[in-house]
Amino acid sequence: MTPEGMRAKGTTPGATTMHGATAGTATTTQRATVQGPAARTVATPAGPAAGTGPAASRAGAGPAIRVDGLTKKFGDFTAVDAISFDVRYGEIFGFLGPNGAGKTTTIRMLATLMPPSSGRAVLNGFDVVHQQVKVRESIGLVFQDNSLDDRLSANENLYFHALMYDMPAAEFEPRVREVLSMVDLLDRRHAIVRTFSGGMRRRLEIARGLLHHPAVLFLDEPTVGLDPQTRAAIWEHVKRLRDGFGVTVFMTTHYMDEAENCDRIAIIDHGHIVALGSPEELKASVGEDIMSVGAADPQALAPAIAARYGVEVNQGPDGLRFDVKDGAAFIPRLTADFPGQIRSVSVHRPTLDDVFLQLTGRAIRDEEASGLDQMRMHARAWGGGRR
């Protein structure tokens, strides 16, 4: 695995929880965790000069994608509600949002597969409504759900793709080997897709999506259900496409740690973009370290903590939550101030999860867990929560 991949994983802020340990040892553990590889170097988007690959031809000087008031209505229901944003050439742009947020619908509109109800989108300088073939010449797409022919072999699916995208015959063999090795399917190259497992099909879809080098590559939840090594290999390849060929990547995801790989992220919820920025910017907007405290009697402890430190205390999924500046150093003080009342303490750096939680009041992973929402209602009732 590359350092890049390692860093991506390291960034996932693993909250270390201590159970009944002494304050002293806990502090050291915390420091180790928190001071780990925290800051991720943002890869600078490739400038206009940087490697414009053979197929990744850019048209025009504007952004790779310009979206302006794009809206999609299904009957009375507005799936995508007047969103506007730009995606720069050569960046990995992430669309992060819960199920039904409108991510796939947005991609379908940008990829000319569905006409917008209103608004405008220009991709690689071409209007997605009026210059459809030009747009399609500029893009590659890995769909969220199956788009393989399962009666064909892996190789035949790739060959079909190469023909449809007018790939030079000489490039076919090396590229097929490259993408199939990336997803570890080279030995199954001539097997019929019907005999593949779900994960193998997914890997083949991604391999096929990366076979040609488009100006803009759409990846709709590309790595759902894949094992960590495969995910890392795919990310490595995607970054190589960006750096070596200047491919612009537009991807959607549920995975927080994956979103961290993006240069910029738009958080989308109920068809609205609620935040947009680099992962660092978004996390910085949440602010300080987040403490989660398991208490013997949370109802009593919450107001006490709030009064003592002048912080807002909320009932989170894993206990009482509040923000402090230096969480690790704060633990001994907390346990000393409330002896016997604290069962567990954990501290973590704000994650994109927290960003989402703060912006929408819901956790991105637990959409269906309405129990969580009820808990938060309670928290608001007695804690005067900020959300």
Binding site: S138, F143, D149, L152, F160, Y165, R208
Partner: protein
């Protein structure tokens, strides 16, 4: 979109059609068994329980001999329409997205598909020639080639018709409907099973607007060539048949390409 590029797209679609066809062993078996069932069970059954009065002027033609071109036409009809309508399956299982998002003109996709179907039908017709002896039909090389040519052309037309229908159908539910209101009537009215002479006027009128009628008549023309007794069973001259079949092919391929291009 230049010619080379368009040709590549057409080839890609055609290629996939052939790979799928050659891979599907059960389809191969079906290709033989279905016409065999019709010939042996229906054909022999009818022939032995009823006198075949279809042949005018007291010509001695067995029902099986009469039926054979009809059965070839039936096989072409089913294969071509099913293959064309197969686009619905591609939609259902997701593969169509890969086609629709590709930077290619959709009409070229439709034409590639029609050509692919024509090829499939051609291979199928070649297999059906083997059944000729069962129907006491003797084929010259010229007749055999004629059968292949007519089948390919009819397959191309009807495949295009299937594509046009599938382009306007969003789900598999419509499939049964198409079968009942289009395919079966086309088969029954085509003269495959009974001669179209002496029919009530309304039935005769319907038969004459059935595209398959001309295809099957063309098959009879090429099969009963050269003064065989069964020539009396032919409706039109080969020229008329081929003209209608060719005109239909041109019309339907345009319809299929247009429908696929403008699909919602």
């Amino acid at each position: 979109m230049n010619t080379r590029r368009t040709a590549k797209v057409i080839y890609a679609i055609w290629y996939r059609e052939q790979v799928r066809f050659f891979r599907d062993k059960s389809r191969w078996l079906g290709l033989i068994i279905q016409p065999l069932l019709y010939l042996v069970l229906v054909g022999v059954g009818i022939a032995s329980s009823m006198t075949f009065r279809g042949a005018a002027g007291g010509a001695n033609v067995s029902y099986l001999t009469f039926m054979y071109p009809g059965i070839v036409g039936m096989s072409v009809l089913f294969t071509a329409i099913f293959s064309g309508v197969g686009i619905i399956w591609d939609r259902e299982f997701g593969f169509l997205k890969e086609v629709l998002v590709a930077p290619v003109p959709r009409w070229a996709v439709a034409i590639g598909k029609s050509l692919g179907i024509a090829t499939t039908v051609l291979l199928q017709a070649a297999i059906l020639l083997i059944l000729a002896p069962i129907a006491h039909v003797q084929l010259s090389v010229g007749s055999a080639l004629g059968v292949l040519g007519v089948c390919a052309l009819v397959g191309f037309s009807l495949g295009s018709l299937g594509i046009a229908i599938a382009s306007r159908m969003q789900s598999m539910e419509g499939f049964q409907f198409v079968m009942n209101v289009l395919v079966m009537p086309m088969f029954f009215l085509s003269g495959a099973l009974f001669p179209l002479t002496g029919l009530p006027v309304w039935l005769s009128a319907l038969a004459h607007i059935d595209p398959l009628t001309y295809g099957i008549d063309a098959l009879r023309n090429v099969i009963y060539v050269g003064g065989q007794a069964a020539r009396v069973l032919v409706q039109y001259s080969i020229g008329v048949d081929l003209l209608v079949v060719a005109a239909l092919a041109a019309l339907l391929v345009l319809l299929g390409a247009w429908a696929f291009q403008t699909q919602p």
